[in-house]
């Protein structure tokens, strides 16, 4: 955020470097000394005094300078909306006569001191009954007595000590489906309990010395194991059966079908053996397999709690905004109730909830939410400010021109083409393998039946069931989650965060990679600009600048940085996504945009290595700005490594980079320019219709539709906690040069699954042949059963680790 290096050097020259006792920032030229401590600002000092007064200085002894900088004072009046009963009711999860409970997301939480302070909140406000922190989720659950304090007071206290909770529009939507699913843990616990006990009871079966014991108690043991296995069969293993049945209903074979058949066969044979007293059954194997497979499922389920892959605009919008009434009074109004014509006041760091005209104050709008640009854009009175920006600096007054639901941003998000048709992917590796499995298994089992039925009815049943049991592809269902789960972690370590484990498999199948150009292939902040054409007078520059200031497009912003002058009032401003913009200044029509947009003949744009933006005043083309794109570090290597795939680039810009891109990407690459967000989406759709597996890499809101439509959408971002459009994976921009490695590694993991599978198959076949010939003593097979499952897990884990090391990840 701040560039402290320079300040640091300055102070280093003056005296020794002094850092703030509270937040650890370097103190500016005038450090505040109080209580024998140094503070960088009044905010930090105030927090310290508050904590000291309440005997909470342990905060500072747990970690060095744990505080959050207080440089930006919090305007407490903006929490007024929390007094509104409706807003309160939406935020609170539980309420009775004396207490209220609710959970806040506090992104500032970063160390153990934070945990300590937040959990001692009751010392600062006696109305707070209890606070419990979940550090990994950055959440704090608060219980307070609503007779002694209010929600607003609690939030204000949090804000005052630097931990302002993030309360967004999404929190009040009533979409609170965040309750954790614990059923997998219950299932696992029950399966583990039953497995252990059944195993113990099955032990006498396997040992020769316990023969007499088995004779007198065999039936008792068997029935007891049966009782223990029933909850496993009915509860723990239910997921496998329901998924298999669902598959059949949709006329599809998934991996769970052969598993369910195997489990069912195991259980039925055991039942039969126990009731007819012909044997002890295989209930130990049955419970064991369910237990191990559930471990795999549990492992697969863990994902990144703090990252959000399904964000929509509501997670960024505030709940309320300050509205100025006609008599000048301020009132907090829920954002949803904003009407056209309402005058609103925005303070530092507040988000613009609806498209509005600036009435008073000088606005510096940070549009990082919309375009990814972190440099704030200056706006003057009379300009339209689009929703989604964040005001930096003084407070400003605006008049709403469009309702929240009508704003440009909201419309873009709500566009129906942007929602992916949520079809479940059934073509996963495991499911395809499962299909072949069931076919082969059924043929073999039927063969055994046909062979044995005329000869020996008993043997026929035995052969039939044992084929089903042995062929149960438990190894596959064990290997997949473990290999994918570890891959997810390897990627996470390299700043590539997948939404879930299924994405690994999708990545492995990718044959087409589509890149967005601006901001993805190119470094957005590094473009250079030069102007060619008739020299512009300062007055003309000022006119052009005024129009450009309205645009959030990175190119407009880059050009405006080079233009001087005070912006003027602009009328009829219009932006045509991917083409250009127009506006009227003092009656002069200004048009800025691509050559196609201004009708400039293409031959005129000779220098094809550059992106150009043409400028015209009253229909006369004056000249053009040329951009030299700076491509991301490591792009050449990535493209070289991806040469076995079809590569395409979709750009909202014009085609003047074509030659240079061709050089980089090779002749076969498909380059499309002047693409609107919808065209990008349609391009992906058409690729998918040709049965390509498409990976889309994009960075901004204009790629949101394409990212959703592709098989795997990767959002590239400079900071993972920043805005990223909804996607399947988030890639930190610093790890962009590893993209091809990620793809090839996910392909490798598919081979690992195959190898794991082969290992266990060989295992099973050898084991079966030996067992059939009576070459195994029962105790050996009893030990081998769990070991074979464990060995699959160990093999999967180790191979992924080794492969990751070799791939340099």
């Amino acid at each position: 955020m701040y560039n402290f290096k320079e300040i640091e050097m300055e102070t280093a020259l003056q005296t020794n470097i002094q850092t703030c006792y509270h937040c650890g920032d370097s103190c500016n030229d005038q450090p505040i000394v109080a209580h024998e401590k140094v503070f960088c600002c009044d905010g930090c000092k105030t927090v310290y005094e508050l904590l000291e007064e309440n005997n909470l200085c342990t905060y500072y002894s747990l970690e060095q300078n744990p505080g959050i900088t207080g440089k930006q004072p919090v305007a407490e009046s903006r929490f007024a909306y929390l007094d509104d009963a409706g807003v309160e009711a939406q935020l609170i999860s539980f309420r009775n006569d004396s207490i209220c409970k609710l959970t806040f997301y506090i992104p500032q939480m970063h160390c153990s001191s934070c945990i300590w302070l937040l959990e001692n909140l009751f010392k600062l406000n006696p109305g707070v009954a209890e606070t419990t922190v979940n550090f990994l989720r950055k959440e704090v659950a608060i219980t307070y007595f609503h007779q002694r304090t209010t929600l607003r007071e609690v939030v204000q206290l949090l804000a005052r000590i630097g931990y302002e909770p993030a309360i967004t529009l999404a929190d009040t939507d009533g979409k609170k489906t965040k309750t954790q699913d614990r059923s997998i843990i219950y299932k696992l616990g029950i399966a583990g309990f039953c497995f252990g006990n059944v195993m113990l009871l099955a032990f006498p079966d396997y040992l020769a010395v316990t023969d007499s014991l088995q004779r007198s108690f065999g039936a008792f043991f068997a029935y007891l194991s049966l009782i223990l296995s029933i909850p496993v069969f009915l509860y723990s293993a239910r997921g496998f059966f329901t998924s298999a049945i669902e598959g059949i209903k949709q006329r599809m074979v998934n991996i769970d079908l052969p598993i369910a058949m195997g489990l069912l066969a195991l259980f039925c044979v055991s039942l039969y053996q126990i009731f007819t007293a012909t044997g002890p059954g295989y209930l130990d194997s049955f419970t064991g397999l369910v237990f191990f497979m559930l471990i795999g499922k549990y492992f697969q389920q863990k994902t990144y709690d703090t990252l959000s892959f399904d964000r929509d605009y509501t997670s960024y919008f505030p709940v309320s905004v300050t509205v100025l009434k006609e008599n000048g009074e301020e009132e907090s109004v829920a954002v949803r109730n904003l009407k056209v014509g309402d005058r609103i006041r925005l303070r530092n760091q507040e988000l613009i909830p609806a498209d509005a005209i600036l009435l008073r104050g000088s606005a510096m709008i940070d549009y990082s939410f919309v375009s990814g640009e972190s440099d704030p854009v200056e706006k003057v009175v009379g300009e339209v400010i689009y929703a989604g920006g964040r005001q930096v600096g003084e407070s400003v007054e605006l008049e709403v021109v469009k309702e929240v639901s009508q704003g440009y941003l909201t419309q873009l998000w709500n566009d129906s083409v942007f929602s992916k048709n949520e079809e479940k992917s059934v073509g996963t590796y495991a499911n395809v393998a499962g299909k072949w499995f069931i076919i082969v298994t059924l043929i073999v089992a039927a063969g055994a039946l046909v062979y044995w039925v005329p000869r020996d009815m008993d043997m026929a049943m035995k052969a039939f069931t044992s084929v089903l049991i042995i062929a149960c592809p438990c190894a596959l269902s064990l290997a997949t989650p473990f290999v994918h789960g570890h891959t997810l972690r390897v990627f996470g370590k390299n700043k590539f965060y997948l939404k879930n484990t299924a994405v690994v498999e999708t990545l492995a199948k990718i044959d087409t990679v589509v890149f967005d150009k601006t901001g993805t292939l190119t470094e957005p902040s590094a473009a250079e600009v030069s102007y060619t054409g008739k020299a512009l007078t300062p007055e003309q520059e000022r006119t052009i600048l005024s129009v450009l200031r309205h645009s959030t497009h990175p190119l407009s912003q880059r050009i405006s940085q080079d233009l001087k002058g005070e912006p003027l009032e602009v009328h009829n401003f219009q932006e045509f996504a991917g083409k250009g913009l127009s506006g009227e200044v003092n009656g002069q029509l200004v048009r800025v945009g691509s050559a196609a947009y201004l009708g400039v003949p293409v031959e005129k744009a000779k220098d094809a290595l550059k992106t150009t933006v043409y400028v015209s005043l009253d229909g006369v083309v004056l000249g053009y700005y040329t951009f030299f794109n700076v491509y991301r570090h490591g792009l050449k290597e990535i493209l070289h490594d991806l040469n076995d795939k079809k590569i395409a680039v979709l750009s909202g810009d014009n085609n003047h980079e074509e030659v240079r891109l061709k050089e980089l990407l090779g002749e076969e690459a498909e380059l499309s320019f002047n693409q609107s967000p919808v065209q990008k989406l349609e391009y992906i759709q058409s690729l998918k219709e040709q049965h390509h597996q498409v990976l889309m890499v994009g960075d901004g809101l204009n790629d949101a539709g394409a990212l959703k439509q592709s098989d795997a959408g990767i959002a590239l971002t400079n900071s993972i906690t920043n805005f990223s459009p909804s996607c399947d994976a988030i890639l930190d921009a610093t790890a962009f040069d590893k993209l091809s490695k990620f793809l090839s590694f996910s392909r490798k993991t598919m081979n690992i699954i195959l190898a794991t599978f082969a290992v266990s198959l060989v295992y099973n076949v050898i084991g079966l042949t030996l067992a059939v010939q009576g070459l195994f003593s029962p105790i050996v097979s009893a030990i081998l059963m769990p070991i074979s499952s464990l060995s699959v897990i160990v093999f999967a884990t180790l191979s992924v680790k080794i492969a990751a090391k070799r791939a340099g990840l």
């Binding site: 747990l62 409970k101 153990s112 959990e119 922190v133 659950a141 219950y186 009871l201």
Partner: protein
């Protein structure tokens, strides 16, 4: 040999109690956060902190 029935009965009951304790622990939310408690236990106990059970989710 009646003792075997008795002992197995007792052992299964005890194990069942542990299973029950485990399920209760999961239900009361103790497995939801496996990081913060590890940090929390290192804090000094000055004064008597009001620590009660974490809020069970309404299911």
């Amino acid at each position: 040999m009646f003792i075997i029935f008795l002992l197995i009965g007792i052992s299964v009951t005890v194990a069942g109690l542990f299973l029950g304790a485990f399920l209760w622990a999961v239900r009361s939310g103790q497995y939801d956060d496996d990081y913060t408690p590890a940090v929390r236990m290192l804090f000094e106990n000055e004064g008597t902190a009001v620590k009660s059970k974490p809020a069970p989710d309404k299911v």
